[in-house]
Each structure stands twice: as C-alpha cells, then as structure tokens.
C-alpha cells in the first residue's frame, strides 16, 4: 500500500508538471510581469484543458501524499520526490522536446540525490 501511494505521488506529480508546462507553452509566454498580465494568464488558464488536467493530477498527488503521511513517516515521501525529478527530466526531453544533455541530467540527478540525503 505504501509503495503504491509512492508510485501514485511520483506519477501524478510528474504528469501534473508536464501537462502544466505543455499547457503554458501553448498559451504563450507571459511577457510582462505586472498584475494585469497575470490576470490575463489566469483567465486563459481557466479555458486551458492541459493546465486544468495538470491541476487535477497535482491534486491527486497531493491527496495521495496526505494519505501516505497518515500511514507512515515523512521519510517515505522522499523517494517519490526523488523519482519525480528524474521522471520529469525524462519526459521533458521526450515529450516536451527540450534539449536535455549532460548538464541537465547531472543537475537532475544531483538534486534527486540531495533530496534523499536531506531527509536523514
């Protein structure tokens, strides 16, 4: 049960971030940083199925995390976070078409290892 929840958290978290990125890229860059352009961005998001799907996936991941925390210690949630970093980098390369080479792979791997060590 614990590992099932860990898998759900990692997969839904990854799915949520990838859908959000794809949706936001489709929506176009937020050029100015004023409150007006954020309001326009927010209105577009409400009609953006990719970002809404991303929110749904992140919500599932959040509730799975709450369930996991209620049946085990915080340290059990750590592998899910670490796996997400690697899985998201993989999907960023092959689904979002980002240029992921040695440096970014190294960065993702270092952060994943760092997150695990921080939990000790």
């Amino acid at each position: 049960m614990k590992w099932l929840l860990v898998a759900i958290i990692a997969v839904c978290n990854t799915l949520g971030d990838v859908l959000n990125t794809a949706g936001m890229k489709r929506q176009g860059e937020v050029e100015s940083l004023g409150p007006r352009s954020f309001w326009v961005m927010f209105k577009h998001i409400l009609r953006n199925p990719l970002v809404l799907g991303g929110f749904a996936a992140l919500a599932i991941s959040f509730f799975a995390l709450l369930s996991l925390l209620s049946i085990s210690s915080v340290s059990f949630a750590v592998p899910a976070t670490a796996i997400s970093y690697l899985l998201e980098t993989l999907l960023a390369k092959y689904i979002l078409g980002e240029d992921v080479r040695t440096r970014r792979w190294a960065a993702a791997a270092l952060v994943a290892c760092g997150v695990v060590l921080l939990s000790f």
């Binding site: 959000n20 937020v30 961005m41 689904i95 980002e98 992921v100 440096r103 970014r104 960065a107 997150v115």
Partner: protein, 150 residues
C-alpha cells in the same frame, strides 16, 4: 550606424531583458515556495493534529492566520510557477527552483538552530551543485508550443 547593427543591438537588449525577467520569476518562485510552506506548517502546528472524517474539522485550520497567509502565498507561488513555465524549460525550472530545499535547511539551522548532520550538509552541497549546473544551461531550448504532445 548601419541598420543591421542597430537591429542586432535591439535584439541583444530584448534578450537581456527577457532573461532578467525569467530570473526574477525564478527568485519569486523560490521565495514564495519557502515562505508559503514555512507559514502553512507553522499554522498547522498551532492548530494541532486533525484526525477526523468530517470536513468541518479541517475548516478549523482556516481560522488560523498563519494557515491563511501560507495558502495565499502558495497561490502566488503556483501562479508565478506557471508564468515561469510559460517562458522556460521544465528541465531548467526543476533543478533551479530546488534551491528552496537549501534555503529551508539553512534557514532552519540559523533561525531555529536545527542540527544539520553530515549527510544533510552533503545533500545541501549536491543540490547547490545541481542548481549551478542547471543555471549554466539556456533557460529555454524549445520553439513555440510542444507539437509532440497531443
């Protein structure tokens, strides 16, 4: 001055301003992530353990000012993160914003006098190295919307 070089200068200035705005968004994402989570967790600790099947008991948490502040800051974090993802690669944003972990650990050490073990110092060093490596790559490598999806 020939028109072509003027155009080149304008292009360079635009790219510089563009990169700076992305950096500002990265900073705001990291700071709101840290402040929102710290405030929310402080509030939830004040409220105490909620073990209940009734949603009304969870609503009690919203009566705490720290919880409300934390949620408001995390809403700002979410919107800023989306704005950042509209401009930069996910594989760039993820490692760079992981510096939030480092800030929480170091802040806990200096403000709350948390003990940091050797394993945790190593973790802080690895994440910092990852952030520096990712920072050296261009923030966006794709053009237009991702066509491979859907």
């Amino acid at each position: 001055m020939p028109a072509t070089s003027l155009k080149a200068i304008r292009g360079a200035k635009f790219r510089e301003g563009h990169a700076r705005k992305t950096q500002i968004l990265v900073l705001v994402v990291i700071i709101t992530n840290v402040l929102g989570n710290v405030s929310l967790s402080h509030g939830m600790h004040q409220v105490g353990r909620i073990v209940s099947a009734s949603p009304l008991d969870y609503l009690r948490a919203f009566a705490n000012p720290w919880t409300i502040l934390g949620i408001c800051v995390l809403v700002v974090w979410m919107l800023t993160d989306l704005a950042l993802l509209s401009r930069a690669d996910l594989s760039f944003v993820l490692p760079v914003t992981a510096s939030a972990y480092v800030l929480v650990a170091i802040g806990g050490h200096f403000i709350l006098h948390d003990h940091i073990s050797w394993a945790r110092w190593t973790g802080i060093a690895l994440i910092t190295l990852g952030v520096i490596l990712a920072e050296e790559t261009p923030d966006r490598t794709t053009k237009g919307p991702p066509e491979r999806l859907l």
